[in-house]
Symmetry: C2
Subunit: 313 residues, 2 copies
């Protein structure tokens, strides 16, 4: 199975705090606004880019892309693209017609300050810029890799992924509401975005069929575990800890594993999923050490049981 | 200045009704939904794709792309992409927090039947699929052409284009409301989408600087004329003629040239812009006959004064 070797100067350093600072700056530099843009739209965009959360996805994409041979600049573009898509999904999810949330990342939601219209337009601007950045980062790759990236974006973000998952989420009250129903939504909404963040930067390495199967399994374990932790936080957390409006899932009849199963079984499930994810990463590294970077992210994605509440999206 | 010659079998036929039927079918085939997608989201997407209006942009993109050497399949993908972006912008513009429209294309707006959330998600699904289709249609082009396409999509759709124009549109009441202010919004909202529809399919022909200048001028004339006709329809039209909610611009203090200037001067301006567009098309064809297809679209874009009311978007 062929894979690209790293260029000498492009070998990634560790996921250092210096690189994190660079990513935070890149998010602001690449934000889709400029002087002269209407003031409310401009504010939503600059505020969102300036309060980017833990950047789990961006850091994963950046390190993965550099590991698999993309230049630091292309890796940065791809990391910003995935983070902007995540950001857009949060702006949209919080809208009154969706989750009607009041707080996000410890601050009032954008639509509560600048209105729904400016918030929707800001989300569209982030999505549009995300596509530009993702496509730019792949511009020098082969046609085969570029077509695979197009298919990945289409399936992860569209009705088969994020958008379809959000639609199921909103109509969850019409489903039987079992743990299985909760997981179907988590697979579409949460696992899809991890799959995007894991697969896109790995495409230049042309993973083998075995590697693709393991990466996909990892994203399912990560997605389900991450969402279950989020569900725990929604049920028993406080805004001060999570930065979000708590109790929204039960109030809105939205999918929540801790509501469906109870808190202790949900904690147990998170632990089981976490163990499966760790085992999958070991299988990947056993086949080739180029997947070692995944280890560093496991703790970011799946908090240890003691820290399961600290999960600001 | 180099340009590609047409492949034998790819030479476009006239913009026949047969091809229009193919495009209508392609829009439905490429619509971003499938069995199993949540029912309301599925309905908004299939309804929108099944009632595509006059397809001015899709027909222009399709004929232009085939003229400039894209395969019939790539041209179809690009035409669907531009039409889906237009469709998404209509779904978003009609929302209660934007224009709060009740009718579009002679039917109740999507959000009045399926709710705001499903409508927003459908728009996102159309945008996502549009990027997949546009990128696929360019997959075999050179890196230079692909990067130009990325830049075109970014500037036409983002805060420098459609999204930025919509933001100005919504806050128009805060501007002096002169004809110039109206035109600034029309340039961002309407001319941008024509520029997308004209430039994207022409990129494989690597237009000269002179051609690019003329094409840009044409899109400005077309955009301003099209929007002014739309403004006339909003002011003095009826839902039965336009398929849209009339009188929204005045009711919502939105930009409308006919409100700012009066009806007769607006009609005169449409006629003047139409003459400038025609002159520009002649200049392009004088330089190279490959731009002849633009003539056929002039009448679609800028209705003759007698027909200025018949302008269903």
């Amino acid at each position: 199975m062929p894979h690209r070797t790293l260029g000498g100067s492009a070998r990634p350093r560790s996921d250092s705090s210096e690189r994190l600072t660079e990513l935070v700056e890149a998010l602001q530099r690449n934000a889709p606004t400029a002087p002269g843009v209407e003031a409310h739209l401009h504010s939503v965009i600059t505020d969102a880019a300036a309060h980017p959360g833990r950047l789990v996805r961006a850091r994963l994409v950046d390190l993965a892309a550099r590991t698999h041979g993309l230049s630091a600049s292309d890796a940065e573009h791809l990391a910003c693209a995935v983070e902007f898509l995540h950001l857009a999904s949060l702006l949209i999810d919080d809208l009154p017609c969706m989750d009607d949330a009041t707080h996000r990342r410890g601050r009032p939601c954008a639509h509560r300050i600048h209105g729904e219209a400016s918030t929707i337009l800001a989300a569209l601007a982030f999505i549009n810029r995300a596509y530009a950045l993702a496509n730019l980062s792949f511009a020098r790759q082969s046609a085969e890799i570029r077509v695979a990236a197009i298919a990945c974006l289409d399936s992860c973000l569209g009705t088969a992924g994020l958008v379809g998952g959000q639609a199921l989420d909103l109509r969850f009250a019409e489903s039987p509401g079992t743990a299985r129903d909760v997981s179907i939504v988590a697979l579409r909404k949460t696992a899809s975005l991890f799959w995007l963040a894991v697969l896109l930067p790995a495409l230049p390495a042309t993973p083998s069929a075995r590697e693709l199967r393991l990466l996909k399994a990892l994203c399912i374990y990560w997605g389900l575990a991450y969402q279950a932790s989020d569900d725990l936080a929604d049920l028993i957390g406080a805004t001060a800890t999570t930065g979000k409006t708590p109790g929204r899932d039960r109030a809105l009849s939205r999918p929540n594993l801790a509501v469906a199963l109870g808190v202790p079984p949900t904690r147990q499930r998170v632990a089981r999923l976490s163990a499966l994810a760790t085992k999958t990463i070991h299988s990947l590294i056993g086949g080739h050490p180029r997947w070692s970077y995944l280890t560093a992210f496991h703790e970011h994605v799946v908090p240890s049981p003691a820290g399961a509440l600290v999960n600001a999206a």
